[in-house]
Subunit: 356 residues, 2 copies
Amino acid sequence: MESADALSILSAEGFVTPLGPTKPPARRQRDSVDDLFIRLRGGDRGALSRAITLVESAKESDQELASELLDRALPVSGKSVRVGITGSPGVGKSTLIDALGSYVVGRKAHLAVLTVDPSSPSTRGSILGDKSRMATLSAHPNAYIRPSPSGGHLGGVAHQTREAMLLCEAAGFDVIFVETVGVGQSEIDVRDMVDCFLLLALAGAGDELQGIKRGIMEMADVIALTKVDGDNRTRAEVAAGQLERALMLLPADPLGRRASVNLVSAVERKGIGDLWGQIEKYVDEDKAKGRFEWRRGTQAVTWMEDMVHRALIGAWLRRPEVQSATEALSAEVRSGEKTPRRAAIELFAIARSAWL
Amino acid sequence: MESADALSILSAEGFVTPLGPTKPPARRQRDSVDDLFIRLRGGDRGALSRAITLVESAKESDQELASELLDRALPVSGKSVRVGITGSPGVGKSTLIDALGSYVVGRKAHLAVLTVDPSSPSTRGSILGDKSRMATLSAHPNAYIRPSPSGGHLGGVAHQTREAMLLCEAAGFDVIFVETVGVGQSEIDVRDMVDCFLLLALAGAGDELQGIKRGIMEMADVIALTKVDGDNRTRAEVAAGQLERALMLLPADPLGRRASVNLVSAVERKGIGDLWGQIEKYVDEDKAKGRFEWRRGTQAVTWMEDMVHRALIGAWLRRPEVQSATEALSAEVRSGEKTPRRAAIELFAIARSAWL
């Protein structure tokens, strides 16, 4: 009970994923999970939203309910194509998601759009809300747009988005877009939860591409050059050629592939169908070679491990002897008497002697 | 001894900062640390480079030597101004660092330039090396440019850079630039090790700024709009006005300040002195209000804590019962029988019952 409280406090601070001991929920609550799940499966959007809110909750009392809901969702989840989308501000990410998403729902698919945004609360959300950003899509009956959870802590937001993804799949969505705003390590988190990672870039004024962060290109499975309309077309074609040559310098993936470069205009609705075709082709090849299933499994294991590590650090921080040693050593480090490395060695010696 | 080996293996994998038990180094090695330190203090660049290589080492046998070297450096470190510099590719970061650095060394300061770059080995390093990127600066006798460590793991690279910073200070450098390439959470890591964080941005073709990631703006203490030359000037002035208005929407810092927006041209060498003046002003105000010292202390404590947490997870992963449970649960998670959340609860129960 005490450690459950501890974890709950830490999780409320966004530090650890709550991993309290399993406490059977009251009968009434269990009924409501059953009810929620049945309605979610029946296509009730309100139930889906409430279910996502439940798994996002940091409250200790919600943990077992959330776990049960996810246990029920698991066997009927996993059937979607999960697409991560990243791109720096200015590349036209919202417009592209609106156009690509509209294409997808136009083909009778059901699409959920989730966002991983660890920005601090003070600037959370765009000036326009998610629905205004994607006006066409948000008006479509087959699309569901869920704003980013307000978890604050990065790993927390990513976990919440993973779990929201399972619930969307249980609710029958067959395509999931997970958008990252590119802060902190959100690209890496999103790459680790999707089947295909789409990088958006923009042909700039010079001979270089705008908005491609170093290290990002090799994470991309499919690349789209955006705003390829009007005067921009020639420039984009030159940039695409350069980009393709640059990609040749990167190692191919295990199936011998390199990211395809696609020219798209969201405004003129050009290249959108071809872009979706490239995403489907990538996923189909992975499925044919067993790589799709392998990646899904690996992602789930990594996710489990990360949850445990976060809980572990939380538990460590609650130990009284760790607290007092940390306090004493912090004072020495703060005053410059001891290097952080030396203090860390001494602090870690507690773990070593006591319980490792 | 066994856990020392374990930690050493983990650290070689870039997973944990090595925190092995202190093992007194052989006399001959200790002499060489003494010698290295004396030469480093005397301004020997070769000795500084070898010292940095030692603290970057993941070898268990180097850990105590590195700790001793840092212990000796600590009392004579901390005297520099530490400036973090970030900006997306295309904003002209290398050129700006070359120009700003040349201005700084021109004022008789000694400048060290370090880089935090967690990019994978396959694309590590720019096509041009660090010295070609900063041609003027690298030719100056008062400048020292150190390429990014090849640590691979992000936290590892950040720790190595922090320790390299202490050594540069002990070697007499009074200004340190820490550049981030903006991958993963490197901005956050760099913000946590400097006194002032400089964000570079570029006035784009439209009415929006290129290369400003969401969540980055509120981390900036000083902002520079780059390439403000020729035709670009008017556009940059408009963008600067917009940016200043946008900054008014963010909360001020505890001293009531908001990031200043500076127009600079590295090519025309314009605005560079004023930009440095803004950085000095920011740091001076912090020093006057005690915020400088407070931040340095807080950063050192966070650094210690992070080292311990990484070592802790490493030790956990070496426990046989954890390994076997992880293996069994991983299989269930991989096959989709169990949610990652449920498996994490079960795995964490081992820690709870055995040693928490």
